[in-house]
């Protein structure tokens, strides 16, 4: 009997041990509660601009408004003249290129391809007045547009095709008396509309964020923390935190999750250990473009078609243009699963002076550096925007077309629909060689996804990556992901070993059975 008891104990005891260790007391995430409390404290401005005497008047010259701002904020003009929002160019170091001066001012992109010769329309989003050609004065502080960022009435408008000037006839008296810290509406005025329309470019930055629920964006959701952009993109002397790697190149002054949430934000240390190799965004932004669609593909090569001699547009069921005579074919998507890449915070860009490699499957408009063996790299979610752009097959350079003008007949593609003339005008403006021949090259642009963070309950679960089938990580190379990475040789040899053991045992058992039977008979 004693032995039976021992046996039961030997089986039951380990079970008890395991059950006891399994009991996990659930903990409250106090860090998160503290952050919520912090964010709920409202910002109380130290000044009421409606009481300033210099602002008790009407304005019709925008430069005069800026001069009035600077009459009190005497040093801010100098700050702005060196800020990226005004210079659209930044000194950066790029591996393989050295020190460069790059920004929206001179970089290519995968949407309207670049601002050259189109400044009047593109630069509507410049924090300045009057940048309509290469002669713009970047040293004159009165060329700064304070209101686009600081108007708190939500009414300030910049003129379409107005090179950054405001629409005339606005109630500037009310606007200047209601300036303050930038709100979502201010940043969104430009950043929600990149690429020529709402959510076209980023996919995670769009008008819906002004009214969205916390399911769409846990930080900015009106029923969530209802945070402003500048709560994370903090600024010191108009130098802001935050990098968009369509124009940035170095790993500095980034706005990070860690600046609030720390590098160990989870209660579960198993999740915390992921932080070393997986960016927060990877699990916490399971999809982007959660409300309105974002543009995933832009094929310029089909632009210029006419229907019955007239320009035309085709729309999908949601009202997104899928073809425009002036722009070509588009593909749109909502609730998009990001693609995943290793990224160490540094990037390169395809410059107008770079040579197109026609043997490559596609040209990278920007390149995100990083790989599994790089200790500074983490896996991030990326919106990959694919497209086709014109290039010069003789000089092997990307071409810039003149897209826009105030009136037809001056070679603007969007008005005259003449590729040949538009390319000649565009390249003439740039003063770069052009053979007169053009073709189209496949392009990809990589836009890291950082916004539209979901509530924790909707974050990716283990099995979204740690699975053999349809893992989110299936295209990410160079790392061993338990449950996903398969070494067929090891598995095959292992299974073979087990099968051989069974076969050996089976053969031995059969021989033993029959020989013993035979022995008994004899």
């Amino acid at each position: 009997m004693k032995n039976t008891v021992t046996f039961i104990l030997s089986v039951v005891v380990p079970l008890i041990i395991i059950t006891v260790v399994l009991r996990d007391a659930s903990e409250e995430n106090t860090k998160l509660a503290e952050l919520r409390k912090e964010q709920s404290i409202p910002h109380i401005p130290g000044v009421d601009h409606s009481k300033h005497e210099v602002l008790q008047r009407d304005f019709d010259n925008p430069h005069e408004i800026t001069a009035t701002c600077l009459s009190c904020h005497t040093e801010r003009g100098e700050e702005l003249l060196h800020s990226f929002h005004f210079t659209w160019e930044r000194e950066e170091f790029i591996e393989g290129r050295g020190v460069t001066y790059l920004g929206k001012k001179n970089l290519l992109n995968n949407f309207c391809t670049g601002i050259f010769s189109n400044e009047s329309t593109c630069n509507r989003c410049h924090a300045g007045f009057g940048w309509d050609d290469m002669d713009f004065d970047f040293t004159n502080p009165y060329n700064i547009d304070c209101l686009v960022c600081h108007d708190n009435t939500g009414t300030y408008e910049k003129l379409k095709g107005g090179a950054g000037y405001p629409t005339p006839g606005q109630d500037f008296r009310t606007i200047v008396q209601n300036v303050g810290q930038p709100k979502k509406e201010n940043c969104g005025y430009c950043h929600f509309h990149g690429g020529g329309g709402n959510n076209v470019k980023h996919g995670d930055l769009e008008m819906a964020l002004l009214t969205a629920s916390r399911e769409v964006d846990v930080h900015m959701g009106v029923d969530g923390a209802n945070m402003e952009c500048v709560d994370c993109h903090t600024a010191e002397n108009h130098v802001m935190k935050g990098r968009y790697y369509g124009v940035s190149s170095t790993n500095e002054r980034r706005a990070t999750c860690e600046q609030c949430h720390t590098a160990n934000p989870h209660i579960d240390d198993m999740l915390n250990s992921h932080v070393a190799k997986i960016a927060c965004q990877t699990c916490h932004i399971p999809e982007y473009a959660k409300v309105n669609a974002t543009k995933m593909y832009w094929d310029w090569s089909t632009a210029g078609r006419l229907d019955d001699g007239k320009i035309f547009e085709l729309y999908d069921g949601e009202g997104n243009a899928i073809y425009q005579s002036i722009k070509g074919d588009f593909e749109w998507k909502t609730n998009v699963e990001p693609e995943y890449f290793w990224f160490n915070g540094t990037a390169d860009h395809f410059l107008i002076s770079d040579k197109v490699d026609t043997t490559a499957a596609y040209l990278e408009i920007n390149t995100l550096f990083g790989d599994a063996s790089d200790r500074d790299s983490r896996i991030i979610p990326v919106k990959v925007h694919r497209g086709r752009q014109p290039y010069d097959p003789v000089h092997l350079s990307i071409l810039q077309a003149k897209l826009w003008d105030r009136e037809p007949g001056k070679g603007a593609l969007w008005l005259d629909l003449d590729w040949e003339r538009a390319l000649i005008e565009g390249m003439k403006y740039l003063d770069r060689p052009y053979s007169g021949k053009w073709n189209f090259v496949n392009t990809e642009m990589y836009l890291p996804v950082n916004h539209m963070v979901s509530p924790a309950s909707q974050a990716l679960q283990c099995q979204d990556c740690h699975t053999r089938e349809n893992s989110r990580m299936q295209l990410v190379e160079g790392s061993y992901i338990p449950g996903n990475t398969k070494y067929a040789a090891v598995d095959n040899m292992g299974v073979m070993l087990i099968i051989l053991s069974f076969i050996g045992v089976f053969i031995h058992a059969v021989i033993r059975y029959f020989s013993v039977k035979k022995l008994k008979q004899s």
């Binding site: 021992t6 395991i18 040899m493 292992g494 069974f502 050996g504 045992v505």
Partner: protein
Amino acid sequence: MAKTEKVYIYKSYERFWHWTQAFLIFFLALTGFEVHGSFSFFGFESAVDLHNKAAWAFIILTIFTIFWHFTTGEWRQYLPTTENLRAQAEYYIFGIFRNAPHPTRKTTLSKLNPLQRLVYLSLKILVFPVMIASGLAYMFYRYPSEGEIVELGISSLERVALAHTIGAYILIAFVVVHLYLITTGHTVTSNLKAMITGWEELEKDEKEDDKKKNDEPEKEIS
């Protein structure tokens, strides 16, 4: 049929250790191969959690058992010997089919035959250490500590995971053969009964002269 007698072979701790270890190895294999991606049973998250907890139970059991081996002197059971090694191998290949007697006499003092000695010793000094070391590396190659991620300087999980996986396959193959070989005692179930009750039915040695000793089960070796 040869005469048999009942001999006390496995002490209670030994049996506790054996069955706990058997259960843990089964459970670790079940959860481990789910983590490996071979099938889905508990769900990945639970499988990892259960595997890690069972691993700690295994490590604790191993520490106690090492202590037991040294304090009782039982470690000597695993000293390899060439004596009868060939005879034992021949027994499994030929003798067993002719109902020949077991070439090695099982006693409390020497409960393992030369082949068992070799196999169990290599489990103890090779397979288990590799599994425990690679398992710990798997758990700790990156771990959070005071707001920082501390690394063990292992650049990739790959080698660690491969060693752990290969070890797991070897252990399963061992279990398959082991489960069969326990049927090769005096009767098909006598080995199993021995590991449950401690008492094993053994073929009686005709030239028996140490019967007395076998009847004193609790006598320690050292």
